[in-house]
């Protein structure tokens, strides 16, 4: 038990180390990425440039810079952005997290509910045109580039039909904290939720249907039906419950990836200042501290999610619990 935990922790640290070193090296291997001149400002004199270089330690050997950077990121937590000089990236990421979590959690609720409905309805009506239609719809959802869908949605709800009764309720883009204004929070997020959820509805609906149909062939489903249970109960309590195991593991990883900044494009398109947009900012400004902070945050989340998924697996599947 303990050794397993230690081993897992060791591997996690290894992964985080690998990612950070790679990000760091890629950054410094990029010609023109040297942040000194950008920090010093346009047309800075050579003396100023040298002073800035020294002040930020860019004249030190790379390993020293790496260690300092990591120390400030993880130990003192006072790493500041190269672009927004006073901006401490760790609190910034922490401030952005609630936005992302609001976005992702809401979308997750939508995609879970809709995809479960879609998967079960398609399974219950498998072979019919309803089934085929739903699955096709799912595919369309998977095929649409999310930033494109977001832009088109914005075009419709914010501009073209903003004055009509249909979309006049849509507030401007942006984010309102839940604690400030719950209704505003909801109205701001409902469209981003839907746009983000579309892709996952497609994936999860299809995965669930496949699992459920496979479950239909399982003996225990036959047993359940032989018990005289209603079809709905058989499908939901026996089929869905067992199929949910794949569903949940998939969900854990996707959710973590999104919370870790994977919803970048959605956040940018809808002007939500979440972790994804932060990553995006970091990338377009080539702001190493911000990139490093968001990447590490995301990696930690993904690793954490892996662990949580394993745990949930344990809860959901008694077989795994006993290591069989």
């Amino acid at each position: 038990m303990l050794t397993a935990l230690v081993k897992r922790l060791g591997q996690t640290v290894l992964v985080l180390f690998g990612i950070s070193v790679l990000v760091f090296l890629v950054f410094f291997a990029t010609p023109g990425a040297d942040p000194s001149a950008r920090i010093a400002g346009r047309n800075a004199s050579q003396e100023t440039l040298a002073a800035v270089r020294h002040q930020y330690g860019f004249d030190r050997p790379l390993p020293v810079q790496y260690v300092k950077l990591m120390g400030r990121l993880f130990i003192t937590c006072d790493l500041t952005s190269f672009v927004d000089h006073g901006e401490e990236v760790v609190p910034e990421v922490m401030r952005a997290a609630p936005v992302t979590i609001s976005l992702v959690a809401g979308a997750a609720v939508i995609w879970i509910v809709v995809s479960i409905a879609m998967g079960t309805i398609a399974t219950a009506m498998r072979g019919t045109f309803v089934d085929r239609g739903l699955m096709m719809l799912g595919l369309v959802g998977i095929s649409m580039p999310v930033f494109w869908l977001g832009e088109v949605t914005n075009l419709i709800t914010q501009s073209r039909y903003h004055d009509t009764w249909m979309f006049s309720w849509v507030p401007g883009l942006g984010y309102v904290p839940l604690s400030d204004d719950p209704i505003g929070w909801f109205r701001h997020l409902i469209i981003p939720w839907c746009v983000l959820a579309v892709l996952f509805i497609g994936i999860y609906g299809r995965v669930l249907r496949a699992d459920l149909v496979a479950a239909y062939g399982e003996d225990f489903m036959r047993t359940a039906r032989a018990k005289g249970l209603t079809e709905t109960r058989v499908l939901l309590r026996h089929g869905l419950r067992t199929s949910l195991i794949t569903f949940v593991s998939l969900f854990g990883l996707d959710f973590a990836q999104l919370v870790g900044g994977g919803a970048l494009l959605t956040e940018v398109v809808f002007g939500l200042q979440g972790v994804g947009r932060l990553t995006y900012q970091g990338l377009i400004n080539l702001d190493l501290p911000l990139i490093m902070a968001t990447v590490m945050y995301s990696a930690i989340f993904v690793v954490l999610a892996n662990a949580v998924v394993d745990l949930v697996y344990l809860l959901l599947d008694p077989r795994v619990r006993d290591g069989r």
Binding site: G32, R38, L49, D84, H162, I284
Partner: protein
């Protein structure tokens, strides 16, 4: 309570002034992101500077008047603009009494002195460029933390004077003092980049909070009283709130929908038609001192050949560039290095169809491909590989594509490479990156021709191997440099004679063609329906203190 009506409301060119003067309310601004540190002596971004002008003051300031009038420095914290002494080497300023920082403390002489020292302590970007001419600045540049500017900036508490000693006469000294990096901050302001914590200032507003990823809130400075309406008038709105996070497209939509009063970022081109059709009254178009130019590296083939550079100047279709920037209403064709509106500007265009140096035209008409091809043929560089570097933004990519077509038609094997906007400008500066030809824009810090000539083509601004070398073309010509120096010197005492010299330098340099000027830009501002008294200054766009919201 003083009413802002002290400063007469002036009708800005372009859109209409709506509504009646109204004090109060919240001015809502939007930009896609914050713009770096809130330390006014470090930040060099126009987004932050535009806001900073209503928060801070220097000894002098560019007049807060609409249009051309805003190019001129006027006394701000100083009682008056002093006469230069010692042939332009010494200036003595009298500090106005009774002005308070937003922290409540009165501004004293030592605050002024400390602020100038602080420029060097915090490695302000212009420390060398603008303030390197102050006595003692050399030592400060080398050893910032212990900067004293001894003998350079001398304060006298008793008679409230601050005396500046320069190493050489500087015609643009007041411009530089008016520049935001010379704002006066409390003497106890920490000597490091303050990041998100804006220091107290003396303007009508103060920054309450700033988060470069979310927004900024600004409120009235309770200690503010108008002392010189021309330099720092009172504001109308009670609050100014900046929200970050929208894309440019979304900013337009949100402003159209009335969610914001003003968008900082440029309106994307494709929205121009819509603005013209549906919101003409909310659009304001104003000149700015900004240009697009095509920079050729005079040290790399084929552009080390003057004929090739001239050929490019002849061949480039400036009209097409104008179209990509939004057409004649959004920018004007630029044929020379000094744009109109600055001293030294003369209508002059040798590089156009039917003109040459012997018979220059007054304005650009059309490209002269035949002549360009002939020049290329003479240069013997035909068929060489040329890579054009442009920043990866839609407008520049469109321009780049057309320029690539042009280079191809001249007989070059031309590529266009778009690189990340964030590093494009430093990238093309560094000679190590061997950039042959690049497209960039340039904005003036203040309204002087030197900002377009000396800055971009002066020998002292060429630093091989450095990321900070704004003389990107690497051009350094002895006679031209001599003219630059002479023009700068003459201007100290005689602006008019100086202007003539600048014009001469421009013409001489144009012949060497280290770059091809393309267009001069205009700023297209979109404001909300409820924003009134749109008020534009040439250098800092819309003046936030002078617009009102209903």
């Amino acid at each position: 309570d003083q009413t802002p009506a002290d400063a007469p409301p002036l009708i800005a060119p372009g859109g209409q002034t709506l509504g009646s003067p109204h004090r109060g309310g919240t001015l809502r601004l939007t930009a896609d992101a914050g713009a770096g540190t809130a330390d006014p002596q470090v930040n060099y971004n126009s987004e932050m500077i535009t806001l900073g002008v209503v928060v801070y003051d220097g000894l002098t300031a560019f007049a807060k008047r609409p249009g051309e009038a805003s190019n001129i420095p006027v006394a701000d914290l100083a009682e008056a603009l002093p006469e230069p002494q010692d042939g332009g080497l010494t200036y003595v300023f009298h500090l106005r009494p009774g002005i308070r920082f937003s922290s409540g403390r009165e501004v004293g002489v030592r605050d002024v002195v400390a602020s100038f020292q602080r420029i060097f302590k915090v490695n302000s970007p212009t420390a060398g460029g603008f303030y390197g001419g102050i006595v003692g600045a050399d030592a400060c540049l080398k050893d910032g933390p212990n900067c004293t500017l001894a003998g350079g900036v001398v304060g006298n508490e008793a008679d409230r004077t601050i005396t500046f000693h320069l190493t050489h006469p500087d015609a643009e000294f007041f411009d530089k003092l008016s520049f935001p990096h010379a704002y006066v901050l409390p003497a106890d302001t920490p000597a490091h980049d303050l990041g998100n914590n804006a220091p107290p200032g003396t303007g009508p507003y103060r920054i309450v909070s700033y988060d470069p990823n979310h927004g900024m809130t600004v409120e009235r400075n309770p200690y503010f009283k108008v002392w010189a309406p021309e330099a720092q008038p009172d504001g109308y709105a009670d609050h100014i709130v900046y929200s970050y996070g929208l894309t440019d497209e979304a900013e337009v939509t949100a402003t159209e929908n009335g969610n914001f009063d003003y968008m900082y970022d440029n309106v994307p081109l494709d929205r121009y038609g819509e603005l013209g059709d549906r919101f003409p009254d909310q659009v304001h178009i104003n000149d700015i001192f900004g240009m697009f130019y095509l920079i050729m590296n005079v040290n790399l083939p084929p552009f080390n050949n003057i004929k090739v550079r001239q050929a490019v100047n002849y061949a480039v279709n400036r009209r097409a560039m104008q179209t990509f920037y939004g057409g004649p209403a959004a920018g004007s064709v630029l044929c020379q290095n000094i744009p109109s509106g600055l001293s030294g500007y003369e209508p002059y265009c040798p590089y156009t169809k039917g003109a040459d140096f012997a018979h220059p035209a007054t304005e650009w008409k059309a490209p002269d491909l035949a002549r360009a091809k002939q020049l290329v043929a003479e240069s013997g560089t035909k068929g060489m590989h040329v890579t054009l570097v442009v920043p990866n933004r839609a407008v520049e990519i469109a321009m780049g594509t057309t320029l690539q077509n042009m280079l191809r038609s001249l007989g070059y094997d031309a590529d266009v490479k778009a690189i990340a906007f964030a590093i494009q400008f430093t990238y093309i500066q560094n000679t190590n990156n061997k950039v042959q030809i690049s497209l960039s824009d340039w904005y003036a810090d203040y309204a002087e021709p030197s900002d377009f000539l000396t800055a971009l083509y002066g020998c002292e601004n060429f630093h091989p191997g450095s990321d900070s070398s704004v003389n990107i073309s690497g051009y350094c010509s002895k006679p031209v440099q001599a003219l630059f120096d002479q023009a700068a010197l003459v201007s100290v005492t005689d602006k008019k004679a100086g202007a003539a010299l600048w014009a001469k330098a421009d013409r001489m340099m144009l012949q060497d063609a280290p770059a091809a000027p393309l267009i001069k830009m205009k700023k297209i501002d979109l404001v909300s329906k409820r924003l009134g008294n749109f008020y534009n200054t040439n250098l800092y766009h819309m003046l936030f203190s002078q617009v009102w919201v209903q």
